[in-house]
């Protein structure tokens, strides 16, 4: 049972973790990324469309689909990048536009491509046992049985993010652009270029996250990722733009979501006869309460969402 809960939590937490990490790549550089829902949808759509066409898909197919999902995310975030960075448009509005556009557009495109509104695929991507690792006591049962290759991607992406932000020149430059772009520019950093890279990386990871949400959770793409993109925006703020805190936040949200899904198999919770809607509400309510209690100074990048004008015309 414990193993089951851990595995279910991972299924919820991994996509959140990845998509929230996508969010910080954009936001550390000072560009708000409110479009994560739309980015996830774009990735999920293209990824499932590829999987739809494969029979008896292998892990290789899954990886290729993830790659395509990332490319789709990058393409769909490009307008947001151009609008926010080059045209100095309102960052919330262009992000929101993408969130509204993608689910509608994918419905129409899906209909045109396969004549149906949902894109179904056969899930052959679950790994029953990871050789060698699955024999480790406890951990083996929790993390290396009935798992997905994508579950491994979560920790890799978060570690890569920690590395990029703390150990590389690019990471330092990105943070400088998010804190004080004028100062960054005066030291010779190309603010525009750095921000573009940050936002596009954000799109790529977000697109990958979209497919990672779909594959373990569903058997088809139906123009929805259940609000995970919006939730990821919350995870970013909850995790205060810090990859490790985001890990904690994503696991917390994932656990609460899991509780909402599986409380019927936990005897004590069934006995309490609490409405399922209450469990579904808990992650959101808990976030409000936690933010209410913890009134620390926000670690938000100082230039986040502020229009940066390099001066001159």
């Amino acid at each position: 049972m414990l193993y089951f809960i851990v595995q279910q939590t991972l299924i919820c937490a991994i996509p959140l973790l990845i998509v929230a990490t996508a969010g910080i790549f954009s936001e550390k550089g000072g560009i708000l990324n409110f479009s994560l829902e739309g980015i996830m949808l774009a990735g999920a759509f293209v990824g499932t469309y590829y999987l739809h066409g494969t029979e008896n898909g292998t892990q290789g197919d899954y990886l290729l689909a993830l790659l395509l999902a990332g490319v789709a995310g990058t393409v769909i975030i490009l307008p947001h990048a151009i609008s926010s960075i080059s045209l100095k448009g309102d960052q919330i509005i262009s992000g929101m536009a993408i969130n509204l556009l993608v689910p509608a557009a994918t419905v129409i495109i899906a209909r045109a491509l396969i004549g149906r509104l949902q894109i179904a695929f056969t899930n052959t991507y679950m790994i029953r046992e990871v050789p060698a690792f699955s024999h480790i006591p406890i951990i083996g049962d929790m993390f290396f049985k009935n798992t997905y290759i994508s579950n491994l991607l979560g920790p890799i992406i978060i570690l890569a993010a920690v590395f990029v932000f703390n150990k590389t020149r690019f990471g330092a430059h990105l943070k400088a652009c998010g804190e004080n772009p004028q100062a960054a520019a005066s030291t010779g950093i190309n603010v525009t270029k750095i921000r573009y890279i940050g936002v596009l990386v954000s799109g790529f990871i977000g697109g990958v996250g979209g497919l990672i949400f779909i594959v373990p959770n569903a058997t088809e793409y139906a123009s929805t990722v259940a609000g995970y993109g919006y939730l990821a925006v919350a995870v970013v703020i909850f995790g205060q733009w810090n990859p490790l805190r985001i890990l904690f936040a994503a696991v917390f949200f994932g656990f609460m979501k899991t509780l909402a899904n599986i409380y019927t198999i936990i005897p004590i919770l069934v006995y309490l006869e609490i409405s399922t809607n209450l469990y579904k509400m808990i992650p959101y309510l808990a976030t409000i309460i936690l933010l209410f209690v913890i009134t620390k100074r926000s670690a938000q990048p100082r230039a986040l969402g502020v229009i940066y004008d390099a001066g001159g015309n």
Binding site: F34, P79, S83, L87, K88, G89, D90, Q91, I92, I93, S94, M96, A97, I98, L100, L101, P103, A104, A105, V107, I108, I109, R111, A112, L117, T224, A226, G227, Y230, L231, V233, A234, I237, F238, S275, N277, L278, K280, M281, Y284, L285, T287, I288, L291, F292, T295, S298, Q300
Partner: protein, 375 residues
Amino acid sequence: MKKKENRAVKAGGIWASPFMTTFIAKIVTIIIGLMIGLILLLFTSGTEVAIPAFKTIITGSFGLVGFRTGMGRMLYYAVPILMTGLSVGFALRTGVFNIGAPGQFLMGLYAGLFAGIHFAPALGGATWVAAIIAGALAGGVWGLIQGMLQAYKKMNAIICGIMMNYVALYLVNMLIRADRALYFGGRSYTNSLPGDALLPRLGMNNIFTGSAANSGIIIGIAVCVAAYFILKKTTLGYELKATGLNREAARYAGIKVERVVAVSMMISGVFAALGGVLYHNGAMGQKYTLGDALRPEGFTGIPVALLGSNHPIAIIFSALFISYLQVGGLGMQSFGIESEIVTVITSITIFFCSFNVLFQKLYIRLIDKLFEGRA
């Protein structure tokens, strides 16, 4: 640049007025939205289907269902997005992005349903008034909670709005499920409202035959006019706008910025909630389907507000316009195209709204060129 603009304004006359500049910029965004929608249609359905389908959208399907019905449908579907648009626009005047409109909309919808069913035996013909008041109260409280969290606890407006939306969604699900009068177990939707809880039709069913048009649109427009007067003529309105233009300057001028933000969110919540009541109590046999997804009307408020430049009167026209497109979208089924095409058009339009300032600059430059010789 400044001098140039002044010269253009003099020479260009009405064409260079701020109203015209904004108006032209919005028209350009709408045209771009329509064009991209058309391109998507051409790519997905081919010319034979795409062209007549596109015609149906831009003629609001009046050709298919007749002028009276089409007109009535447009008025009917405009009501909820008019109110959520006003809600988003009003909050934006104070510098707050109200992402919480879908939640406030739902709270209003629930309160209207509750009052409509429970108060009908006691109130009879006046039930619909009670439903509107109940909806406004529920939305006001919900908006105020959000506003206070944002203003006094410095909570991020976006995170707060998203969380409050989902809390509202599940709270409403929970309340409806617990209430036997509103909901019979096993169904996925609520019971119908009694006739007394419905808004008066005022004979609009005779004018706009075959549609559900009702007095909701009149109430909605009246609320917009009221919002206009709050902004234009009251001290509160002045404080709201001052806070929206420059929060720190407003603070130095002695305005209690936190209080203003909270009050603005409360009013904004009332508007969004009215959208819920006026829509749900608007027509016979409306049922709210319980589920895990937020209703789209709250989000559609964003394009309505942006197209209307957050101006309460302009929002009336932008709501009618988007409703007009949506009614056109309803006719898409006969072409084998999903009505989502309208969402594509509106979302592209609001995408281009995000750099409207750029369009305005380009337009001013164009005017400048055109009238250069005369200056």
